[in-house]
């Protein structure tokens, strides 16, 4: 079995894995980082979104071996110790989650959206950019509010934290 090695949430991690292992399986099963979720088998639902080398990627659609040597950030790595990331805080404040299952992927997508489109996001942009994230509970109304607020609040973060 080949060995894969990558930096996950700031720590160097390695394991011997079956080459078929998807990144999401590596994270959940080898590293026991279960915050990244699997909600579908066709790359549509977005519950598995993580950051690889600074960009949002669906972890269900990439092989762990292809991430060898990469920097991976999962939802577990977003907060600064006990201090929530502004996007996490915004989801909580605006009731942008109910069952919580799509939430890690939503938040990771939202953080990447700010990196790509800035801190002043209008409703239309947010709704379009969430095409790759499904939620069955919230009806999206409060997710949109949360992302707009989180984006604004990210403007006062030190830049290095906003998209690590």
């Amino acid at each position: 079995m080949p060995t894969v090695s990558m930096n996950v949430n700031g720590r160097q991690r390695s394991a011997d894995i079956d080459p078929r292992t998807l990144l999401v399986q590596f994270l959940r099963e080898n590293l026991r980082l279960t915050g990244t979720h699997v909600g579908c088998d066709t790359s549509q639902c977005g519950a598995c979104v993580v950051q690889i080398d600074g960009e949002a990627v669906k972890a269900c659609t990439v092989l762990a071996l292809s991430c060898d040597g990469s920097n991976v950030l999962t939802i577990e790595g977003l907060a600064n110790g006990n201090e929530l990331h502004p996007m996490q805080e915004a989801f909580r404040e605006h009731h942008g989650l109910q069952c919580g299952f799509c939430t890690p992927g939503m938040i990771m997508t939202a953080v990447d959206l700010v990196r790509r489109k800035g801190n002043n996001l209008d409703e239309k942009t947010i709704r379009e950019e969430l095409e790759g994230n499904l939620c069955r509970c919230t009806g999206y109304h409060n997710i949109v509010k949360a992302i707009a607020a989180g984006a604004r609040n990210m403007a006062s973060m030190p830049q290095s934290k906003a998209a690590e």
């Binding site: 099963e29 909600g39 009731h95 109910q98 799509c102 069955r136 949109v144």
Partner: protein, 786 residues
């Protein structure tokens, strides 16, 4: 109210773990030494199993065991059950075919469970399953409701594939009213089959503890105690006292996780066989194939009106598809959760509904958000709309004219509406929506070549499920009360052990708000415990919008008992007569003096028992209550949908959505609105996007998110949500419940708006761009001519 009490829109306590990825869902749980289960499923919709050869699979790498239906039967463990007995018109009981966990002799739908492979890794289990050889004798598949009665018989006990032929109402009175009606409106309606698709797929981990000969099951369930009851009493896996069922964080349910399915049952049975934990998780395709589906009715409805535009009668004839087997509550959904809601918000003197429930070679159909009430609301709100148009009356005025205005109101179909003010919701919805401005918005749309429509839905539903004696008399096998235990700890923190289960509803916050409000203690000192049969006494779980009305009423009652006991303790501590003790805002005082003690002091005193002798007053401060509702509750309201249609493409854009609901008293308005938002999105999904489709051979051709169109953020607008309030008189908090209302109200609002826009008399759901485009062609030609 207080900052954290009843009525406060505070953020949720439980969110920290969800936003940081520290939730604990069943698939996050891993037990030492666990093996993985993979189910071999039928590729045929209908077939006899002539033989199954598992030898090659059994010797595949990593395989621990391979089991089939014969192995389960040999252990004399029972099949899956349906817990609601419905009788047909002729008095005969419904035809319930056996529902084995792994197929016995026959498979009846694509996805039906044939065998299970248990291996050291999931990959090994999957690989081994491909080595199982099944010899099928394929039979013709029965897929269509229209042909089901003449199709190949699916169950020996059900000739013509009829499960039951049921009715409710006064047929003679209805026929009489129709005979003398001034106008009769007729409508054919399809309530399209849906797949609930909570974002978390189902999962289970079964474990056997050899030392105590007991079972543990982690399951994605909305009702762990009911799961234990069924698996223990009806399926016979183990007695309840040796069976722990845990439903930890669950990622949405919407009904689909109420039921007891084959997979969890097989996992926990297999764990005992192989003496290792057995873990299973559902992939999305499997969820499409074998989670219980929802809806799937075909209905013919007729409405009779008199010369004044008053409704005199309604008659409805429905065929309901129950799928290949009866799921746990399947039989109740198109009967007692459907016809009794056909009166809607209207005073209708005579109603008759008949329902023919049929087996087909499709996935079992059971409750899905609304469970029967969306089906009823679609019928009444579409036919009322059509009647208004046919009579040339304004749809809002026609509704208003027929509203129930006197309460309590006994409908002709069992339900007795306790309280409401339907006119208030309609008025408020029209104001918030600015329906008066619609004509100018419509002109604006038309100037840009678009059609614009507005549609109402005045819905009522029956929830807070349910009074036990009432449902028992209608065929339910269980009671539908709820339980609560209030445990005060020695230093005054409080744990509430509730039989309700939260899978997104925010109980850890709302239930704590009630406690904080009643006891005057900080909300951070309250925790809510749910989902574990070892911790929480028997409870009935969460569905049917019951956790507020029923679950919180049980907590209320237990809190009353705690307060009464605490006052007794305070009387001893403060050396006063019990009648002179007052309790307010977390403080006990003696009337007319300044003697007082705070909550924490009294709690400690209750547990150290120094101030009273344990014979007249027991130590401790912990009380339990079971609350059995005396009636259903009746949330009601008006939704208004305004949309634009591009006649060139048939694409529908929802421009504005207004909802005004009467849910009685609210605990947390932010959470209530969130429930409405989510329900509306699901209803929009049903109306415009979703539909589970089987081809003629019974293959589900919409078995992934690529083919089944889930609503996305771009498909729905922001919603304007308002409330009116008539408190529910049948529970101490005046709560009606809000979890399903959005999904119940919304589909007819969309279709009424669409048909208003394209001028086409009837559009079926989902009103896809293709269907809308076809309907819009007539309108487009008219517009061009003007």
């Amino acid at each position: 109210m207080g900052a954290t009490g009843i009525g406060a829109a505070i953020p949720r306590k439980e969110d920290h773990r969800f936003v940081t990825g520290k939730g604990r869902y069943v698939d996050d749980i891993n037990r030492p030494g666990q093996a993985y289960a993979f189910f071999l499923r039928s590729p045929h919709a209908h077939a006899k199993i002539k033989s199954i050869d598992t030898k090659a699979a059994e010797s595949a790498p990593g395989v621990v065991a391979v089991y089939t239906g014969d192995d389960i039967a040999a252990d004399k463990v029972g099949g899956l059950i349906c817990g609601w007995l419905i009788h047909s018109k002729d008095g005969s009981p419904m035809n319930a075919g056996p529902h084995p966990a792994l197929a016995q002799g026959k498979v009846r739908y694509v996805g039906d469970h044939v065998a299970v492979v248990i291996a050291d890794t999931l990959a090994q289990a999957r690989d081994a399953a491909e080595k199982i050889e099944v010899d099928y004798e394929v039979l013709p598949a029965v897929v269509d409701l229209a042909n089901a009665q003449s199709g190949t018989q699916i169950h020996d006990v059900a000739p013509n594939n009829v499960v039951y032929d049921w009715h409710l109402g006064d047929k003679a009175a209805v026929d009489k009213a129709f005979a003398s009606a001034k106008h009769v409106t007729k409508l054919e309606l399809v309530n399209n089959r849906l797949v609930p698709n909570p974002m978390e797929p189902r999962a289970a981990v079964g474990e056997y503890e050899e030392g105590t000969d007991s079972l543990v099951l982690y399951t994605t369930s909305q009702n762990p105690h009911v799961a234990r009851l069924v698996l223990s009493a009806f399926i016979g896996l183990a007695p309840e006292h040796k069976f722990r069922v845990i439903a930890p964080d669950v990622g949405g349910g919407f009904g689909s996780k109420i039921f007891i399915y084959a997979e969890e049952r097989v996992c926990v049975w297999a764990a005992r066989k192989i003496r290792r934990p057995v873990k299973w998780n559902c992939d999305r395709t499997e969820a499409f194939l074998c989670d219980a589906h929802g809806r799937d009715h075909v209905t013919h409805a007729e409405l009779a009106t008199d010369a004044d535009g008053k409704i005199t009668a309604l008659r409805v004839s429905t065929k309901a598809n129950l799928g290949a087997y009866l799921s746990t509550f399947a039989s109740s959904v198109p009967t007692y959760l459907y016809v009794p809601l056909l009166s809607g918000q209207y005073n209708i003197p005579a109603i008759y509904g008949e329902v023919m429930a049929l087996y087909t070679n499709t996935a079992p159909v059971d409750a899905y958000r609304g469970a029967g009430r969306p089906e009823a609301t679609f019928v009444i709100e579409r036919i009322v709309e059509m009647a208004a148009r046919e009579l040339g009356m304004d749809p809002a005025e026609f509704r208003r004219k027929n509203f129930v205005t006197q309460f309590p109101h006994q409908t002709p179909v069992i339900m007795c509406y306790d309280t409401g003010d339907y006119d208030a919701s309609l008025k408020k919805a029209q104001e918030i929506h600015d329906t008066a401005g619609f004509p100018s918005r419509k002109a604006q749309s038309e100037s840009q070549g678009k059609l614009r429509g507005l549609g109402y839905s005045a819905y009522i539903e029956a929830c807070g499920i349910a009074p036990s004696a009432a449902v028992g008399s209608l065929g339910a096998g269980v009671g539908l009360w709820e339980s609560a235990e209030v445990r005060v700890n020695p230093i005054g923190t409080v744990e509430i052990l509730t039989g309700s289960h939260s899978h997104g509803q925010g109980h850890e916050t709302t239930f704590a708000q009630l406690v904080s409000d009643r006891l005057g203690i900080p909300i951070d000192n309250v925790s809510i415990v749910h989902g574990d049969t070892d911790k929480v006494q028997m409870g009935m779980g969460t569905y049917g919008s019951r956790s507020g009305a029923v679950g919180m009423s049980a907590i209320f009652k237990a809190l009353e008992k705690v307060e009464a006991k605490a006052k007794k303790v305070a009387a001893h501590v403060l050396e006063a007569a019990e009648g002179d003790i007052e309790f307010k805002d977390g403080k006990f005082t003696v009337k007319g003096t300044d003697k007082n003690a705070d909550w924490g002091t009294i709690a400690l005193q209750a547990y150290i028992a120094h101030k009273f002798n344990g014979q007249e007053l027991e130590p401790g401060l912990k009380e339990s209550a079971f609350w059995d509702p005396t009636n259903f509750t009746f949330p009601a309201g008006v939704h208004i949908c305004e949309l634009e249609v591009d006649p060139a493409t048939g694409l529908t854009t929802i421009e504005k959505w207004t909802a005004v609901d009467d849910f009685g008293n609210l605990i947390n308005p932010m959470i209530v609105e969130g429930q409405v938002h989510g329900g509306i999105a699901q209803g929009v999904g049903q109306a415009l996007l979703e539909g589970a489709i089987y081809n003629d051979e019974g293959q589900l051709i919409t078995a992934s998110f690529m083919d089944y169109c889930m609503p996305r953020a771009g498909d729905v607008p922001s919603y304007s949500v308002g409330m009116t309030t008539t408190p529910c008189p049948s529970n101490p908090l005046g709560i009606k419940g809000c979890g399903e209302a959005g999904a119940i109200a919304s589909p007819p609002a969309v279709i009424n708006a669409l048909t208003n826009a394209v001028g086409h008399e009837n559009l079926q759901m989902p009103a896809t761009p293709e269907r809308v485009w076809k309907a819009a062609q007539g309108a487009r030609l008219r517009m061009a001519a003007e």
